[in-house]
């Protein structure tokens, strides 16, 4: 089975994240970089499925030079090889442009299964898995909290507000995962050493066959016009509970007309 796992490098959620004043895009220099946390569950699921059913795991990442750190990190968890889509022309791409180049690369690699996190912690649009399924013309099995494969049949639990749906399809498919699906492994020392020898192929937009006009800041179908830091909240009242904390809280709720 050919498994492709998409990996995105994002600013660490613990750090102060902001946009760049010059072009309103993510300020990558302002924050530490990490693998999008939800992608680590995608990596783990890909590795487990390959271990259970045999096959190769290829990581695909679109991002600047620095994203190579995240690719190496993924390879230190396991897997066979990676493709790094790196091109200045991609800077500022929106989800439409990103999904176009990713779909092109994934199509070139060939796949039975594409796995990715259900959303990224920076953009949080949550549209990429659906867009990839649409572009690749394969079933969309998103928000999976469980994945089972039997021959060419794949079944997932798709998380929903009311619980979950059992969803079935035939491979090839796109799967996106939620954080409760597994416990991502830590890279072992052996894994870290091995990752250094695993092949990482670099690709540009031209290599994907996608028209440059579709990607980057100029090709984006949306634009950020302005941004501003939100003002901090006004400090409120804090009381220590000396036996009447609950009563005082109720007083507050009355004063604000909640009860």
């Amino acid at each position: 089975m050919n498994i492709v796992v998409c990996v995105k490098q994002v600013p660490d959620t613990w750090s102060d994240r902001t946009l760049r004043a010059s072009d309103n895009t993510l300020d990558r220099a302002a924050a530490d970089a990490e693998i999008n946390e939800l992608d680590t569950y995608a990596i783990e699921e890909g590795l487990r499925l390959a271990e259970a059913h045999g096959g190769e795991v290829t990581f695909v990442s679109m991002g600047p030079e620095r994203a190579l750190e995240s690719i190496r990190k993924a390879l230190s968890m396991g897997g066979d090889k990676a493709v790094h889509l790196v091109d200045d022309a991609l800077h500022g791409s929106d989800a439409l442009g990103t999904s176009a180049v990713l779909a092109a690369v994934i199509g070139q690699i060939g796949f039975d299964l594409v796995i990715l996190g259900s959303e990224s912690t920076d953009a949080r649009t949550g549209v990429l898995p659906a867009m990839l399924a649409e572009r690749l013309g394969v079933p969309q099995l998103s928000y999976a909290s469980k994945v089972e494969i039997d021959g060419t049949t794949i079944t997932i639990n798709r998380q929903a507000d009311y619980g979950y749906d059992r969803v079935e399809a035939t491979l090839p498919a796109v799967v996106s995962v939620v954080e409760k699906i597994n416990e991502p492994r830590y890279p072992s020392f052996k894994g870290i050493m091995a990752s250094k020898k695993k092949p990482v192929q670099t690709m540009s937009v031209a290599d994907t066959g996608i028209d440059q006009a579709q990607v980057g800041l100029d090709g984006a179908a949306c634009e950020v016009v302005t941004f501003a830091k939100r003002p901090a909240r006004q400090a409120g009242t804090v009381v220590a509970d000396e036996g009447a904390g609950g009563t005082k809280a109720a007083d507050f709720l009355v004063s604000r007309k909640f009860i």
């Binding site: 649409e134 969309q140 949306c222 950020v224 809280a249």
Partner: protein
């Protein structure tokens, strides 16, 4: 007047509040044309009329519920082709965004998600990085596809005709690839939905166990609130994941958010810090959640919460 397509979010014939919010917003830009998939549209039409829907397209085939997302996107793409709407509005829920994403690929239009406001020239307001930054964005290609965060718009009644127009298109095999075998409902009592609720009461690790989450539920019920949880709670399996608030959970923006036994890590704040009013119960005065509190009690939740529930009972009876 241009049509504004609004994808209805509904449970059978019950119209979800977010749908009425979208119809209210749509009226500002043109004729609100609701797109209803599956059953219940005829019964719901009066409600939609009350909020000013001019039209209701009803596509009542079962394929919209039997297959994941793709049939709805196909239907919307067909309507976009037929009606050339000025705008397509969707609820910014997991599914709403996915429908929008597929629609964007089909039509080549730009999509903006998690939008909390739209100005007259269609500039969209978003809050990013967990509510730390306000962003104004615009779609510059195609009929804009805008997913609106539930609870961001106040639904306002207005008379509408809600003329029903049945739509019967053939959904392609391509869109019938991910088949729903079974819907597993894990209800936790009849509470309002987390992202739509005007009051949310959330429990954190301080609650201590799955059984103790009953205390949070009790407080929530005394206020008619939804229940939320921190990731520490859902990771421990004390409460289901769909109730998680934060960076990798739901974003809520209720009138009142009550955080009980939650420290206020940046990733939790990401999901609740735009709430209008925030109340906190935590025994650690240094807990960062107090920075957001309009009212905070430093104390043991096992003493404070039962007293609060009792007091609410006294004052509302």
């Amino acid at each position: 007047m241009a049509e504004i397509l609004v994808l209805a979010d509904h449970e059978g014939e019950t119209v979800k509040k977010v749908t009425l919010e979208l119809v209210t917003l749509a009226r500002r830009f043109g004729e609100a044309a609701v797109v209803w998939t599956g059953q219940g549209g005829e019964a719901a039409k009066d409600k939609l009329a009350e909020y000013g829907a001019a039209k209701v397209y009803i596509a009542q085939g079962s394929e919209y519920d039997d297959y994941v997302v793709a049939p709805k996107a196909e239907l919307l793409a067909w309507l976009v082709g037929q009606r050339n709407p000025a705008l397509v509005l969707l609820p910014s829920t997991a599914e709403g965004k996915e429908v929008g994403g597929r629609l964007a690929v089909k039509t080549g239009s730009g999509i903006l998600t998690d939008v909390v406001g739209l100005s007259d020239d269609l500039t969209a307001e978003q809050l990013i990085f967990g509510g730390a930054i306000n962003v104004s964005s615009k779609v510059r290609t195609g009929s804009p596809i805008i997913a609106i965060r539930p609870n961001a718009i106040v639904p306002e009644p207005a008379a509408g005709a809600a003329v029903v127009e049945p739509v019967d298109i053939t959904i392609s095999d391509q869109a019938r690839q991910a088949r729903v075998l079974e819907r597993v409902v894990q209800q936790r009592g009849a509470r309002p939905e987390l992202t739509e609720a005007s009051i949310v009461v959330s429990g954190g690790r301080g609650v201590g166990s799955a059984d103790n989450m009953a205390l949070i539920e009790k407080l929530a019920d005394s206020l008619g609130a939804a229940v939320g949880a921190s990731r520490a709670v859902t990771d421990a399996g004390w409460y289901p994941h769909q109730f998680q608030v934060g960076q990798t959970g739901k974003t809520v923006s209720p009138q009142l958010y009550v955080a009980v036994g939650i420290s206020g890590a940046i990733q939790h704040r990401a999901g609740m810090q735009t709430s209008k009013t925030i109340m906190v119960v935590n025994k650690d005065p240094e807990a960062p959640i107090f920075e957001l509190a309009d009212f905070g009690v430093v104390g043991d939740l096992f003493k404070v919460v039962p007293q609060l529930v009792e007091e609410i009972g006294k004052r509302t009876s």
